[in-house]
Assembly symmetry: C2
Homo-oligomer: 407 residues x 2
């Protein structure tokens, strides 16, 4: 039986982690920076060393192919190598390097499956430098025109297209490359569920739908001591009551409904002044599209009622709105079967975060494998997954891809 | 009958308003700045011009006395001339300048009452530069040792005592000057009640008790998409639920209970990250000491319960804690009687803001007269009270002081 070399895979995570390394630990490798170029160059060298054919497309996605016995659509895996400002070694990188380890294992054992095996890394998955996140894979599947994507600007006004050219990754290939046969993505969970429950492999059934709202309440600033409660137009109170409602709503709807108010700002933000303005975000997620829509509707109705009661104006912006994605049943079942065959404990769960696989699911059967994140930490220099779990994840990736490629 | 010259009083408000004037309108005359010195010098010149005897005490309070027929404790009035950073022309200034207009009216008409008439302005009432607010009058009544007060520092580290000496107002007199016979303070309401109800004179029965709390919740930052509701330690949600409770509490306790959450800050304050830390203030006020204490107790109990439910630590700081002050019944009744004798509409109400009169109430019978604030605006360059209302307020001040001084 083919076996992944876990130590070698872990070493490659450490090696790639030297590109953009922060002092002490962690990585700062924002998309299309010099550090990202260094990471890309290093990864590309690995691909070439494995004799893979490399294609770089117009948005800088890199797809390397290990030829099959027949010229059929490839069984693809991959993820991203860009990180957030204070990121860890695993998020994204694991998916790319595990793919290369799969190819290395096949190559060393002289295995050439019927279909080609492709390993990709997609541009700007994190969205930490350019918006939206998952931009490279979105363009790859035809969800955004290349021209639009190249015009994205970072916070300092730098244009994505210029930065891409600057680091030498504005490729010639059309992003909508040949449609893959299928797509697998190995990723750390980035949440605490597997670690808390002591489960080794997460069988990802899909990605939650996401609705991000920004609510801005405009009231009137007044003296906290001299303005009777009934004469107030307290923008802050409308926001804070809406936030409390969001929490009650998640509890009431139950199931997989999540609600987070991560940002709330008051103006003028003084102890004895009634807030004239309050701006808050609400992050709603659910694997069930109908429930997510209901949560949004109920939340906005409550916010509007609070605003009216307080004599406050309310403005709503939708910052993100993604329907839930269901992964391919056959691929998901296959991952579970391979994990069990290896004697590993499994848990079916949705992904709470967005991943390139949800974009690929638009054009081919797709699925994801999760390995545990210690304490659920991610987007954090302390991000950690034990070598053993990394090896299990990569081994399942190898089996699932090979089975699919031989089909 | 003696009559205030309203036009002259309004002109003096405009004149003093030129010291530290902001471009366009409004005043920036923080305590012990050069602008404050200019305002003090101008006011002192007025006092001297009226032939009043001026005493400056060790904390920079200025008391000017118009001699009576007998050497008895003075009937005192006054307020402050420091302002907030973007203040108006009326807050504080009106009380000082109306006092001088009272003396001017007496002097022009050759009236010398039995008891002396004193007009004071107290240092750093606003608390916008040095804490606590009402510092000068607090020292005046012996509520804080002079030495402690002189050590107060502003946000840039400047020492109050040094700043006082720098502008030449570190006087030689002991702050606990001869105990006045009584104290009156004319002030704008700084709230909307009189203006909304079309009432001309507010008969102030006392000052609300104030309790300022800062609650700091410490939870754990986590991914909003991957952390199940039950595994969260959401510091923000503890704060926002506590804020919503504060509002319900004020409604439930009713009466004069006020509750304001004017400041709330989340860390890291990002849309998709559960807040690790939340810091909020709660401003509770009531004229009833027992009810205020109950509000505080209930609020803290709820906050603690929220924190425990969310697995979050809570820290409580008391930023201010003042019992309600009741003004002297005879003085309050007298103000109401004089207003009615002039055919003016009156309303008995508590002061929502703190005033020097509440400090003077510790050492002598005290009371306040309120005139309407347009739209309740205060601490605002648009602060405005019509000349007519200013004249009524000063006229009542004259009558009430004269009656008291002749007694």
């Amino acid at each position: 039986m083919l076996r992944i070399d876990t130590a070698r895979l872990v070493q490659s995570l450490m090696d790639l982690g030297r590109m953009g390394a922060l002092p002490g630990k962690g990585v700062h490798r924002l998309a299309l920076t010099d550090a990202d170029k260094a990471g890309r160059d290093w990864t590309l060298a690995q691909m070439r060393e494995l004799g893979m054919q490399v294609r770089i497309d117009g948005i800088g996605n890199v797809v390397a192919t290990y030829a099959g016995r027949e010229d059929l659509p490839a069984v693809m895996t991959g993820s991203h190598i860009d990180t957030v400002r204070t990121g860890g070694l695993y998020d994204g990188n694991l998916g790319v390097l595990a793919g290369l380890e799969v190819v290395r294992t096949l190559s060393e054992n002289g295995v050439r499956p019927r279909r080609p095996i492709a390993v990709a890394f997609f541009t700007n998955e994190e969205g930490a430098r350019f918006q939206p996140d998952m931009l490279g894979s979105l363009v790859y599947v035809g969800g955004m025109p290349l021209e639009t994507a190249l015009e994205a600007r970072d916070a300092d006004g730098a244009r994505l297209g210029d930065e891409l050219a600057r680091i030498g990754y504005a490729g010639e290939h059309a992003p909508a490359a040949p449609r893959p046969d299928s797509f697998f993505e190995l990723h750390i969970e980035q949440g605490p569920v597997l670690h808390r429950q002591g489960v080794q492999i997460g069988v990802v059934e899909g990605v939650q739908g996401i609705c991000w709202l920004r609510l801005t309440f405009e009231g009137k600033s007044n003296h906290a001591g001299t303005t009777p409660m009934a004469l107030r137009r307290d923008a802050g109170m409308s926001a804070m009551r809406t936030a409390a409602f969001a929490h009650e709503l998640a509890a009431r709807l139950g199931g997989r409904q999540l609600a987070t108010v991560g940002s709330l700002r008051l103006q003028p933000d003084l102890v004895n002044v009634i807030a004239a303005q309050a701006s808050m975000t609400v992050d709603l997620r659910n694997t069930d599209a109908a429930m997510l829509a209901r949560a949004r509707t109920e939340l906005l109705a409550h916010a509007q009622a609070c605003a009216e009661q307080h004599g406050v104006a309310m403005r709503v912006e939708t910052l993100a709105d993604f329907d839930p994605v269901a992964f391919d049943t056959a691929l998901v079942d296959g991952i579970e079967r391979h994990a069990r065959a290896l004697g590993l404990s499994t848990l079916r769960l949705p992904s709470g975060a967005g991943h390139d696989a949800q974009m690929l699911a638009r054009i081919c059967p797709s699925a994801m494998i999760f390995v545990p994140s210690l304490d659920g930490l991610s987007h954090n220099v302390d991000e950690y997954t034990p070598a053993e779990d990394i090896g299990y994840g990569a081994q399942i990736l190898l089996r699932a891809m090979l089975e699919r490629a031989e089909r």
